[in-house]
């Protein structure tokens, strides 16, 4: 369990604690301002504006503490990678409807529009009302959201759960994004500046079964191109895949690609060296 879970998990992971999905949380304190910005006319100012300040706030590439603090205390919006089964549990925990909206990291940085952000109910109505120019957003039901999650997992998009601020009353989750490490701005900041509070590693790490893996793909491992974080090495001599737990984010995309069931997700804390590696 990460530190969020220790403080706000109530015995489970923070995003699986029903306590964090209380309706009134979204209308209180820092949660309220983040919810209002993401679900309103300020969305672009909030999301892309935070990105425009990164270079000012990180003069030294080896010091990302200011950015981490700003993300928690000012922006009050951060995320964590979740595997498919947890994403489905999250969808079960919140009541519908869901808003499927464009990905700001892609749209506002010149990429092709991809409708991949699944916002939860408190932002749906205000988003449709305050941002009429976003004609490609659509409201979907819980069943469609589950189908969408499975489709994303199949195509190779990471699932990440994003909260609306950490405060002593809880961490209300607000959106599931489906990104890749090449497009997702917080993930890029994580990888190039080391900003931990943008995109946290998931609660799991992948482990490959050597026997099944050796018997399986032989010369072309199908799981490797699915890894966004460079956590995989393949040895053509051993015909075996090595997963570096220090780099693994626990997204589970390699597992869903493996045709031989050789990869499984284990709890991050089963490796003592990963206890504080989020």
């Amino acid at each position: 369990m990460c530190r969020y879970c220790v403080e706000y998990g109530g015995g489970t992971k923070w995003y699986l604690n029903p306590d964090n999905y209380r309706d009134e949380l979204y209308t209180k304190g820092i949660h309220e301002s983040t919810t209002r910005m993401l679900g309103g006319v300020m969305k672009n100012t909030f999301e892309v504006g935070a990105m425009s300040n990164v270079d000012l706030m990180a003069p030294d590439l080896y010091y990302s503490g200011n950015l981490s603090i700003a993300l928690e205390q000012v922006t009050a919006h951060g995320g964590q990678i979740v595997p498919l089964e947890d994403a489905l549990k999250i969808i079960d925990l919140c009541h519908g409807p869901f808003l499927l909206a464009h990905c700001a990291c892609r749209r506002y940085f010149g990429r092709k529009d991809v409708i991949r952000c699944l916002y939860f109910w408190p932002t749906v109505e205000t988003s449709l009302k305050e941002r009429p120019w976003e004609k490609d957003s659509r409201v979907i039901s819980k069943e469609e959201a589950r189908k969408f999650e499975r489709e994303c997992d199949k195509k190779g998009f990471l699932h990440s759960i994003w909260h609306a601020g950490v405060d002593s009353d809880g961490i209300p989750p607000i959106v599931i994004c489906h990104c890749t490490a090449t497009d997702c701005i917080p993930t890029k900041f994580r990888l190039s500046y080391g900003v931990m509070n943008g995109q946290r590693k998931g609660e799991y790490v992948s482990v490959a079964d050597p026997l099944k893996c050796q018997k399986g793909c032989k010369d072309y491992p199908v799981c490797m191109p699915r890894c966004q974080f460079g956590a995989m090495r393949y040895s053509p001599v051993d015909r075996l895949l090595y997963i570096d737990p220090q780099n693994c984010f626990g997204c589970g995309l390699c597992r869903s690609a493996c045709p031989h069931g050789a990869i499984k997700l284990v709890d991050r804390l089963s490796f003592p060296s990963l206890v504080d590696n989020w």
């Binding site: 990105m51 010091y63 940085f109």
Partner: protein, 123 residues
Amino acid sequence: MEYRHITPRPVITVDEAACGNAVLCLKCVKACLDAGPNCIGFINTTPPPVGENAPQRLEDIPHSIIFSGMVNCNGCGKCIDVCPKGALTLQMPEPQAPAARVQHADVVFCGTLRDGTKVFPRD
């Protein structure tokens, strides 16, 4: 917080008056994306109005160009070349001798604890 080291990186500045409404052009954004670094984005200058006067198209909202994650910029200058208005200038960092860097204790595991205590990284 005092910084002991500044990581050199290219700096691009935009002349916003010459650029105008960025969303109508976006040639530099596309050029940077095609070149690889993907450092150039665009943002609305002020939040658009809500209600009856709300804009119906993204193009109706004034946007300006932003630069983000400039450590990934490789200084290729394609954004400068492609700009039809000559609004961008690129400044490459001065060459620096490699310096020893201090790795700060900068990890924030959880900024606010359940009892309301704020936790900040140690310097």
